[in-house]
Symmetry: C2
Subunit: 339 residues, 2 copies
DNA sequence: TTGTACGCGTTATCAC
DNA sequence: GTGATAACGCGTACAA
């Protein structure tokens, strides 16, 4: 029974050379090892199917080749698309993704940031939870990540400060969407917003106001429903708005689905009885039986920008505090009618 | 300027005790350390916000507290729901998820299994890619994981062999669904299947046949479209089946969405012109404007069973070769009409 | 061209 | 009660 060879030490012994030599050869470093021994080492490593122990390597190099990703809810298509894209992009640079779901909870944001930091991630991609943004808890998170000295990029949601961030241009997107509604003759517009603590929500609100102002219109207080970014909020918003407005702007697609659901229950048809627009253009919005007019978030573009930003920050030890805002695209489909 | 304290060594020096003592105290191990020193250690650790280096700990304990998860496509809601559930479940046991997308490619299955193994994951959750299941490439994967000696559980898709696996009872689900169609008077049923190499697909097919046989019915060769589990397959299947059958059984919900999309293009209404059922009951199926009749996969139940199985395998060093098949639930909604 | 020796931060064993 | 000392597996300056 042959002793199993698993470590560099084993290979070194088996080949009658030093560990240094083996290490140099196996890592393809500039070396002056003779071709003969080089081949011998590679051959035995191959034969024994040697695999370096990543943990030990990480300890020695102080590099885990791991990026922590924290999202509020990966079952939301926007985030699962994003995570997929990040994973593929980071893999190109040799990084693997450690994934955490905060479930929109502040406590989990803190818990997972610490956990990932303990796991020595080389970088961090963070979409803060809605709860964190409320009650100014984000200062805690901000201070935490800046104390950890781990390159971090905020994605989609962010808070004031000089952390690098990547997000869609919310104001521009909401502006175009609202303008589209106005151009189609809508004057009574209802809004289902996200949490007002989120800067993204504020941006979308600003876009709406800008478009309204340009058209000399305004929006009634009672036609603005402040909610969260989930499907139930859409349902509840619909309850308050259906019948009172000619168009509903749900601040994300999930909410719009909720509106769709409520409308069906009341036997109302979209866009006949009410027009509807969303935001995000998650996968299913193009596929739903009622194809949703919305603003497309350029997920791939954003994640590419984000990953290259992050990788640069890690590898060049640069403390880039870039703020990248990428425009969304108005996608006109079937959920808006002209009146 | 106070020297920053980051390691156990630092704490030991600062407190004038040995590293052993510090380690014992900080890890809450059974120890006979005096209360005084114990408190002192904890206090300085607290003050300096000491965080253990997980990498070093892993090297010493030979445990990474990390589970590798490989899925074919996390942007598919079935998998993103699953991954979310796994992450939450594993977190309870102190494990973090290293996530990889195989993009349905054999090469990536192999690449990521090796990568995760190098990263010393304590366990592996694997949904093999469709490509792997074709051409008998799965033997490679099977041999690879059994050579690695890493506790592995197959999820959803699997291959013959004694690896532990968790999946929905495909035959039962498809049987109930088909029976439901038959009970509603459908005799001409069209099938859009998944890759026939997948055992799950074979199971669903068996369920269909069983129900047909019981009813003394059969299905025409030309009404079976072999495809893959994505939305485009649904569209293409629809092209071949629409107008020729009274009901279409898409082997997963994504395909059903494709059928929905194609039907709309041709101005056909579901279920008026054709009935439609899917499989999986992914989130959006309950929400679509056309609420889909389908079989619900008990994702939470499956992932819970899976994670506890895996954790037990890891912690008890048990080589459980359990095979857990959980029944799905027929969810009757609006996409089937009685004829 | 190759080898020695130490460091990475933690845990584990045993002796005092 | 406490403290040396040796692993864990790999990387790397420096020496030969």
């Amino acid at each position: 029974m042959q002793k199993k060879i698993t470590t560099i030490k084993d290979i070194a012994e088996s080949c009658g050379v030093s560990m240094t030599t083996v290490s140099l050869v196996l890592n393809h470093r500039p070396n002056n090892v003779s071709l003969a021994t080089k081949e011998k080492i590679i051959r035995t490593a191959d034969e024994c199917d040697y695999r370096p122990n990543g943990i030990a390597r990480s300890l020695a190099t102080k590099k885990s080749n791991t990026i922590g990703v924290i999202v509020p809810d990966i079952s939301n298509s926007f985030f699962s698309d994003s995570v997929k894209s990040m994973q593929i992009e980071l893999d190109k640079h040799g990084y693997t993704v450690l994934l955490c779901n905060s479930e929109e909870q502040f406590a989990n944001d803190v818990k997972y940031i610490k956990l990932l930091s303990n796991r020595q991630v080389d970088g961090l991609i963070l979409t803060v939870s809605a709860e964190t943004m409320a009650d100014n808890q984000w200062t805690t998170v901000r201070d935490l990540i800046s104390s950890l000295k781990i390159p971090t990029v905020l994605y989609d949601r962010f808070f004031p400060g000089d952390q690098p961030k990547v997000y869609v241009d919310n104001t521009q997107g909401a502006y175009e969407l609202t303008k589209h509604l106005i151009e189609n003759g809508h004057k009574e517009i209802g809004l289902i917003t996200g949490p007002l603590d989120l800067i993204g929500t504020q941006g979308r609100l600003a876009g709406v106001q800008k478009a309204l102002k340009e058209a000399g219109l305004s929006i009634k207080k009672e036609h603005i429903v402040n909610a969260t970014y989930d499907i139930d909020s859409g349902r509840q918003g619909a309850k308050k708005l259906l019948g009172k407005v000619s168009a509903i702007f749900a601040f994300n697609d999930m909410q719009a689905y909720g509106v769709l659901d409520s409308a069906r229950e009341r036997h109302m048809l979209i866009p006949r009885d009410v027009s509807l627009v969303g935001f995000d253009d998650i996968f299913y919005s193009a596929v739903l039986d009622m194809r949703l007019t919305t603003v497309s978030q350029p997920v791939k573009e954003m994640t590419k920008a984000l990953c290259s930003l992050l990788v640069r920050a890690i590898e060049d030890h640069a403390t880039a505090n870039d703020e990248i805002s990428i425009p969304g695209t108005l996608v006109k489909r079937d959920s808006v009618r002209t009146i």
